[in-house]
C-alpha cells in the first residue's frame, strides 16, 4: 500500500482552506459564502485526519467527527438566518447588509 506522505496531505488541506477563504472573501452571494465556510471546515478536518494518520492515533478521526457535527449544527442555524434575512432584504447580496457602518 502506497502511503501518501504527510506533507502532501497537509498541503492539500492548506490549499483547500485557502480556496475556502478566497470563496468567503470574494463571493457576494451569501449561500456561496456559507459554502466557502464549509470548505474551510473540511480543510481543517482533513488536516486532523492527516495528523492522526501521521502519529497513528484515532484522535484525528474523532476530531473530524466533531467538526462534522459542529458544521451540521452551524449550517442549520446559518441557513435559518439566511432564510429570515432573505425575507427582509429580498436579496442574497451580503454587501446590502451594511447598516452597522461606523
Amino acid at each position: 500500500m502506497v502511503t501518501i506522505p504527510f506533507s502532501h496531505g497537509l498541503l492539500l488541506a492548506a490549499a483547500l482552506f485557502l480556496l475556502g477563504v478566497i470563496c468567503v472573501l470574494t463571493r457576494r452571494n451569501i449561500i456561496f459564502m456559507l459554502l466557502g465556510l464549509e470548505i474551510m471546515l473540511n480543510a481543517a478536518g482533513l488536516a486532523f485526519v492527516v495528523a492522526g494518520a501521521r502519529w497513528g492515533q484515532p484522535d484525528g478521526q474523532i476530531m473530524f467527527l466533531i467538526v462534522l457535527a459542529m458544521a451540521a449544527a452551524e449550517v442549520s442555524v446559518g441557513l435559518a438566518l439566511v432564510l429570515e434575512w432573505y425575507h427582509r432584504m429580498h436579496s442574497l447580496d451580503v454587501d446590502q447588509a451594511s447598516r452597522l457602518r461606523g
Partner: protein, 631 residues
C-alpha cells in the same frame, strides 16, 4: 440662670426654622407670633440673665458655657461655646431688646406684604446669627455668626427681589463686605498659625505673652482684623455699600444697617482689643479711619435727597465716632455710644419708615413737608431721635455718649487735638444734616397727602425708643457735672480697660463740653436760620456754582463708586470680555477634539460589510501565525 445662655440664640433660630419650613402655609397671625415671640422671649431671657450677671459682679466678670463640640480635627478643637461678659451682655441686650421692638414694628409695617413670613424668617435668622456673633467664645464661631449676618443682610436688602435694582444693591453689599471678610479670614489663619488657638481669651493671653508692643505681627493681625471691621461697619474705604443697602425694607435698615450688624466691626475690635493695644500704629489707623469716615459721611449726609440715605450716611458717620473712640482707647465711650446710637438710630429709621409708610412709599425729602400736624406722634419721636443724634446738650442721651467720645479723644494719651477737631466738626455737620432732614420732612407746606397712620404696633416701639433715646444717657454723666454718674463705665470696665487720660488735660473737661454743645446748637441754629428764618439766604447759598458742584459731588458720596468702578469694575469687565472664549476651557475642548478625531479613525474601519471583517480576521490570523512561526 447662666445655664440657659444657649436658649437666647437658639430661640430666634428655632423661629427661623419654623417660619422657613412653614412658609406660606402659616397664617400671618401665626407668623407674626412666632417671629416676634421668639425674639421677645430672648429679650426677656437676656433681661433675667443681666440681673444674674450683675449679681455676680465684680467677683465673676465673665462666664463661659460650652454647649457642644463643633469639630475636633488635628488639634483644632472648636466648640459651640458662649462667652458672657459686660461687652457681650450689652450687645445682647441691644440686639434682643431693640430687635424685639423692631420686630413688633414690622408686624404693622409689613402687614400688606406678600412675603410676610419670609420676612420674619430672615429677621429671626439674622437675630440668631448676630447673637452667635457676639456670644461666641472663639473666633471660628464668631466668624460663623459674622457670615450669617452678612448672608441675612444680603437676603433682606434684596427682599423685594422683583426690582433688579434691589438685587444689585444686595450683591454690592455682599461683595464689598466680602473684601473685608477675606482680610479677617486671613487674620484668623495667621492667629491660629502663630498662637495655636482660636479661643479668644486664650489668644489674648498668648498674644500678650509672646508678642511685644509695636512689633510687626500684632500690627499685621490688627490691620487685617480692621479690614474685616471696616467692611462690616461700612467705614472708609469700604463704606460704599451702606447707602445702597437702603433698598431693603425700612425695619431691616433699622435693625441690620443701623442698630446691630454694622456695629459688628466695632464689636470685633473691642473684643480683640488686647491685640490692638499691642500695636500703637494699628490703633492710630483705627482712629484716623474713624475720623476720616465721620467727616466724609457727614458731608455726604448734607446733600442727600432720600430720607433713608441721609440716615445711612449718618450711621456711617456715627460708627466713625465709635471707631475714633476705639482708636484712642476710649473703650467704654465707644460701647456707650454704640448702645445709645442703637436706640436713636433705630428710632429714626422706624420713624422715617412711619413717614414713608404714611406717604405710600415716598422717600424723597423734597416731596415731604408739613407732616408736623398730620403725624404728631411721629413728629415728636422724630424730634427726640434727631435731637439725640445731634447731641443737643443735657436733655438727650446722644449728648452724653458723643460728648464722652469727644472729651476722651481730646484727653486720652492716644488722642490729639487734630482728631478732636475732626470729631467736633463732625458734631456740627451731624447737627446740620439732621435738622435739615427734620425741617424738610416736618415743616413747610404739605406736599404729599397722608395715606396711612401708624397703628399701635408701630407707635409703641417708637415711643419706647424715643424715651430710651432721651433718658438712657443718664447712666453716664460726666465728672464735670458735680461728680457725675458712672454706672455704665463701671459696668463695662469689668470687660474692657479704662481710658488712659493725660493728667494735664483733665481740667479742661468743661471747656470741651461747652465746645461740643456749641457745635450741636450752632448747627441747629444755622439750619433754622437758613431754612425757616430766612429761606432766601438758604436758597441763595444753594445757587452758588461752587455749592452746586460740591453738592453733586457729596450727593454721590465723594465719587467713591465712580473711583471703584474705574479701578476694579471696568478692568474686571475688560478682562472678562477678553476671556469671553474661555482660554482655559480651550485646552479641554482640544482634548475633546482629539477624542473625536480618534473616533473618526476607528469609525472608518467599521464599513458594515461582513466580507471586510472576514478579510480583517484572515489577515490578522495570518499575521499572528507568521509571527509565531518565524519569530
Amino acid at each position: 440662670m447662666i445655664q440657659l445662655l444657649w436658649l437666647i440664640p437658639a430661640l430666634p433660630l428655632a423661629g427661623f426654622v419654623i417660619l422657613a419650613l412653614g412658609g406660606a402655609r402659616l397664617s400671618r397671625r401665626a407668623a407674626a407670633w412666632i417671629g416676634v415671640g421668639s425674639v421677645g422671649i430672648s429679650a426677656l431671657l437676656t433681661l433675667a440673665l443681666a440681673v444674674a450677671f450683675l449679681r455676680g459682679l465684680p467677683a465673676i466678670p465673665a462666664h463661659i458655657r460650652q454647649v457642644w463640640t463643633w469639630f475636633d480635627v488635628a488639634g483644632l478643637n472648636i466648640g459651640v461655646s458662649f462667652y458672657l461678659d459686660a461687652l457681650a451682655l450689652t450687645m445682647m441686650a441691644v440686639i434682643t431688646g431693640v430687635g424685639f421692638l423692631i420686630h413688633l414694628y414690622s408686624v404693622g409695617y409689613m402687614a400688606h406684604d406678600d412675603g410676610f413670613s419670609r420676612f420674619f424668617a430672615y429677621m429671626n435668622l439674622f437675630v440668631g446669627a448676630m447673637l452667635i456673633l457676639v456670644m461666641a467664645d472663639n473666633l471660628m464661631l464668631l466668624y460663623l455668626g459674622w457670615e450669617g449676618v452678612g448672608a441675612c443682610s444680603y437676603l433682606l436688602i434684596g427682599f423685594w427681589y422683583r426690582d433688579p435694582a434691589n438685587g444689585y444693591a444686595a450683591r454690592k453689599a455682599f461683595v464689598v463686605t466680602r473684601v473685608g471678610d477675606t482680610a479677617m479670614a486671613v487674620a484668623l489663619f495667621l492667629l491660629f498659625d502663630r498662637l495655636g488657638s482660636l479661643q479668644i481669651q486664650e489668644l489674648m493671653q498668648r498674644a500678650g505673652a509672646q508678642w511685644g508692643v509695636g512689633t510687626i505681627l500684632p500690627t499685621v493681625v490688627a490691620l487685617l482684623l480692621l479690614g474685616g471691621a471696616v467692611g462690616k461697619s461700612a467705614q472708609l474705604p469700604l463704606q460704599t455699600w451702606l447707602p445702597d443697602a437702603m433698598a431693603g425694607p425700612t425695619p431691616v435698615s433699622a435693625l441690620i444697617h443701623a442698630a446691630t450688624m454694622v456695629t459688628a466691626g466695632f464689636y470685633l475690635i473691642a473684643r480683640t482689643h488686647l491685640i490692638f493695644e499691642l500695636s500703637p500704629l494699628a490703633m492710630s489707623i483705627v482712629a484716623i479711619v474713624g475720623a476720616a469716615t465721620l467727616l466724609l459721611a457727614g458731608f455726604s449726609g448734607l446733600c442727600q435727597t432720600d430720607i433713608k440715605r441721609v440716615l445711612a450716611y449718618s450711621t456711617v458717620s456715627q460708627i466713625g465716632y465709635m471707631f475714633l473712640a476705639l482708636g484712642v482707647g476710649a473703650w467704654a465711650a465707644a460701647t456707650f455710644h454704640f448702645m445709645i446710637h442703637a436706640f436713636f438710630k433705630a428710632l429714626l429709621f422706624l420713624a422715617a419708615g412711619a413717614v414713608i409708610h404714611a406717604l405710600s412709599g415716598e422717600q424723597d425729602l423734597f416731596k415731604m413737608g408739613g407732616l408736623r400736624r398730620e403725624l404728631p406722634l411721629v413728629y415728636l419721636v422724630f424730634l427726640a431721635g434727631a435731637a439725640s443724634l445731634s447731641a443737643i446738650p443735657l436733655v438727650t442721651a446722644g449728648f452724653y455718649s458723643k460728648d464722652m467720645i469727644i472729651w476722651e479723644v481730646f484727653a486720652s494719651n492716644r488722642g490729639g487735638t487734630l482728631l478732636w477737631a475732626a470729631a467736633l466738626a463732625g458734631a456740627l455737620l451731624t447737627s446740620i444734616y439732621t435738622f435739615r432732614m427734620f425741617f424738610l420732612c416736618f415743616e413747610g407746606p404739605l406736599r404729599t397727602p397722608v395715606a396711612h397712620k401708624p397703628g399701635w404696633n408701630m407707635s409703641l416701639p417708637l415711643a419706647v425708643l424715643a424715651v430710651l433715646s432721651l433718658v438712657a444717657g443718664f447712666l453716664e454723666i460726666p465728672h464735670s457735672f458735680g461728680g457725675g454718674v458712672q454706672i455704665f463705665s463701671h459696668f463695662i470696665q469689668s470687660a474692657l480697660p479704662a481710658t488712659q487720660l493725660l493728667p494735664a488735660r483733665e481740667s479742661n473737661e468743661i471747656l470741651c463740653q461747652l465746645a461740643s454743645a456749641a457745635a450741636a446748637l450752632g448747627g441747629l441754629g444755622l439750619v433754622w436760620w437758613l431754612m425757616l428764618r430766612s429761606p432766601q439766604a438758604g436758597a441763595a447759598l444753594t445757587r452758588q456754582p461752587l455749592a452746586m458742584k460740591l453738592s453733586r459731588f457729596w450727593l454721590n458720596g465723594w465719587g467713591f463708586d465712580w473711583l471703584y468702578g474705574l479701578l476694579f469694575e471696568r478692568p474686571y469687565i475688560f478682562l472678562a470680555q477678553i476671556n469671553r472664549a474661555d482660554i482655559v476651557d480651550g485646552c479641554f475642548t482640544l482634548l475633546a477634539r482629539f477624542g473625536l478625531a480618534l473616533n473618526a479613525l476607528a469609525g472608518a474601519a467599521q464599513t458594515g460589510r461582513v466580507r471586510t471583517y472576514a478579510a480583517g480576521l484572515t489577515v490578522g490570523a495570518a499575521a499572528i501565525i507568521a509571527w509565531v512561526v518565524w519569530l
